[in-house]
């Protein structure tokens, strides 16, 4: 457990000192969302109709933007080697890194999402469910993304590759995340969608650290 907290603390401190990543992710999210009213026109009903989907798609793309950095810096400076060789299990350390990634990128997105919802004229009924769905969905995005980030270690043009690897795996989160908000807007219960999202989160929480650790060990060879 000390190992988990140690790596979490270090990664948060690094993110805080470097700062740029979190700001960039949120800025990207806001800019992408803002593009839609320009593209589809300022018709409020259309915007309200597509709001949940637009917010989710933008959030997926923004979350993906920072993935490459999860292991890349540690890989390049040799830290990842030492993490692999530490007596603490690599899976636990990876979980710590993923949690740090989520706290610095996923959480700011959740905070920014209602603002974007207002901009897209989404009905207020959807706000709470949107935030709950993102609270369940974004950690799953970080966990799935970590697998992709570990797989591309050592590859050139990793950023593009990680998108191709990870985006298809994000589809279930997108479907049920947007679905939950749609349900809330229609005035029906979103419990089913949220439960499935919770199930996705639990599944990725259980499986992703092992898959990621395996990919990291592979990269060390």
């Amino acid at each position: 457990m000390t190992g988990f907290l140690a790596i979490l603390q270090r990664d948060l401190r690094l993110a805080l000192r470097q700062g740029a990543d979190s700001v960039m992710v949120v800025a990207f999210f806001i800019v992408t969302t803002t593009l839609f009213p320009f593209g589809v026109g300022p018709e409020v009903n259309i915007l309200a109709r597509i709001a949940s989907g637009v917010i989710w798609v933008s959030a997926l793309l923004a979350a993906m933007l920072s993935l490459e950095r999860v292991f890349q810096a540690d890989y390049e400076d040799g830290s990842l080697e030492l993490l692999t060789l530490s007596p603490v299990s690599l899976e636990l350390l990876i979980l710590g890194k993923v949690l740090a990634h989520w706290l610095t990128t996923g959480l700011p997105l959740i905070i920014a999402a209602p603002l974007m919802a207002v901009m897209l004229n989404m009905d207020q009924d959807g706000f709470a469910i949107l935030m709950i769905a993102m609270l369940l969905g974004t950690p799953a995005l970080s966990l799935i993304g970590a697998i992709g980030a570990a797989l591309i270690l050592g590859a050139r043009r990793g950023g593009v590759l990680v998108s191709l690897l990870v985006l298809p795996l994000y589809i279930p989160v997108l479907i049920f995340g947007a679905g939950a908000v749609e349900a809330a807007l229609l005035g029906i219960s979103a419990t089913a969608q949220l439960q499935i999202m919770a199930a996705i989160l639990l599944l990725t929480l259980a499986a992703a650290p092992f898959a990621t650790a395996h990919a990291v060990r592979q990269a060390m060879e």
Binding site: L5, R13, R17, A73, D77, G78, E81, L85, S86, P87
Partner: protein, 237 residues
């Protein structure tokens, strides 16, 4: 009394056979110096010993037990210093070292870090961030890392790179102290490091041409598709 040994190790990187049939043995207080031309597999052997790489064949044993049986114990007893210093430019020297101490569960970590920094004469740099360190200072910080916490085995890959003559002497001193405490040191270097009576392991002695090795493998067992593919490529070359 601990002993660390490897028998009949073969290392394959990509499609290149780096070395084969390598055996060694070291016990508490020993130092083993790896020698060999560039590409002879010194780094590969050290990574193998650390547990970063798996040997193609052969086993590594600590006190007679295969290190693969209990990886965690092996990681806990060994300290590996690779080519890279693993120093974050935005963290101070102390914060850089803290993580590695925490991962080893070192008690009184601050005192242990102080002690290591004093031993390498970089205590005055403890609050300096990584980006302002010279390459020699970075190397010393990396060396300070291996002093933190208990260990029985040091695996040092070119520890002297970037170090000045004085630091090399200090490193030799640290190695001598570690050996006196019963540690085993395995290192590769291109400069003269003043280590008393090291066992010399010359990797050039274990280089085997690929074709010969494949022929030998074919004699031993039936052709598998993978090996068939390899040997046909060899033939093409």
């Amino acid at each position: 009394m601990a002993d660390f040994s490897g028998s009949d190790l073969t290392c394959l990187r990509g499609e290149r056979l780096v070395f084969g049939g390598l055996s060694f043995a070291a016990k508490s207080g020993d130092a083993v110096m790896l020698r060999g031309r560039n590409g002879a597999g010194k780094s590969s052997l050290l990574r193998l010993m650390a547990g970063l790489l798996a040997p193609r064949s052969g086993v590594l044993c600590w006190n007679g037990e295969n290190i693969n049986d209990d990886r965690t114990a092996h990681y806990a007893r060994s300290q590996y210093l690779g080519h890279q210093d693993a120093i974050k430019p935005v963290l101070t020297v102390r914060d850089n070292l803290r993580l590695w101490g925490q991962l080893r569960g070192v008690r009184n970590l601050d005192a242990a870090i102080d002690e290591a920094l004093v031993a390498l004469q970089i205590h005055h740099l403890s609050r300096v961030t990584g980006r302002y360190l010279s390459s020699g200072q970075k190397r010393r910080t990396a060396l300070a890392r291996i002093l933190i916490g208990q260990s029985d085995l040091w695996l040092l890959d070119e520890p002297t790179v970037g170090l000045d003559r004085e630091s090399c002497a200090e490193l030799a001193q640290l190695i001598a102290e570690f050996r006196a405490r019963g540690g085993i040191v395995i290192y590769s270097t291109h400069v003269d490091l003043d280590v008393k009576n090291p066992t010399i392991l010359d990797l050039d002695d274990f280089a085997i041409p690929m074709v010969e090795w494949l022929a030998e493998q074919d004699d031993l067992e039936d052709m598998t598709p993978a090996k068939g593919a390899l040997s046909s490529q060899e033939a093409a070359q």
